[in-house]
Symmetry: C2
Subunit: 111 residues, 2 copies
């Protein structure tokens, strides 16, 4: 992954509202949520939410598709996977005993 993309993703997540928004979509899973429901859930005015959705979307972390009058946003799980790999890149120079436990711990505590 390019450094610029990772930076955009980290910047997008590095804000209270957007982090909450992203995690809401992670929890919503593959069904996603319409922008209006997200705004209601987070208590954010629609134009502000729109700016936040755009940032996360430009970073590739979420994707919106129109469905009637609503736009349904979904978390992009691949993007998170790529970001994790980027952060751990060249972490061990072959000595995988250093970095393997990091991802193993994450895996065992997830789901």
């Amino acid at each position: 992954m390019e450094s610029k993309i990772a930076l955009a993703q980290l910047s997008a997540l590095a804000q209270e509202n957007r982090l909450a928004l992203f995690r809401l979509l992670i929890r919503a899973g593959q069904d996603g949520l319409p922008a209006g429901e997200i705004a209601a859930a987070l208590g954010v005015p629609p134009n502000t939410l729109s700016a936040q959705l755009t940032l996360l979307s430009n970073a590739g972390l979420i994707e919106g598709t129109r469905q009637g009058r609503s736009i349904i946003y979904k978390a992009q799980f691949d993007a998170i996977s790529g970001l994790i790999v980027f952060l751990m890149e060249d972490c061990c120079q072959g000595r995988s005993e250093i970095c393997a436990p990091v991802l193993e711990a994450a895996q065992s505590r997830c789901c």
Copy 2:
């Protein structure tokens, strides 16, 4: 993990210099690097670097220990592991086929 800590970690990583700095320490592994060498490697004046080290350190992503006149900074691998878990929290409501591949992909591409 508390949301505040995750936010501090993401904010700390969401900046070009600090992201490069963190990844440098990830690559340096458990030996770490003295602040001076980091400054030289990144081409950043020492006082600016110090502010960046402080931010990453306060977020728990790195840790510095004095050794003679130098302070050796090391990446905290546990912190990254915790951040990954936080981002994926409640990702699948039991339907682990959604989120398991994310971490598996990360694991297979790392090391």
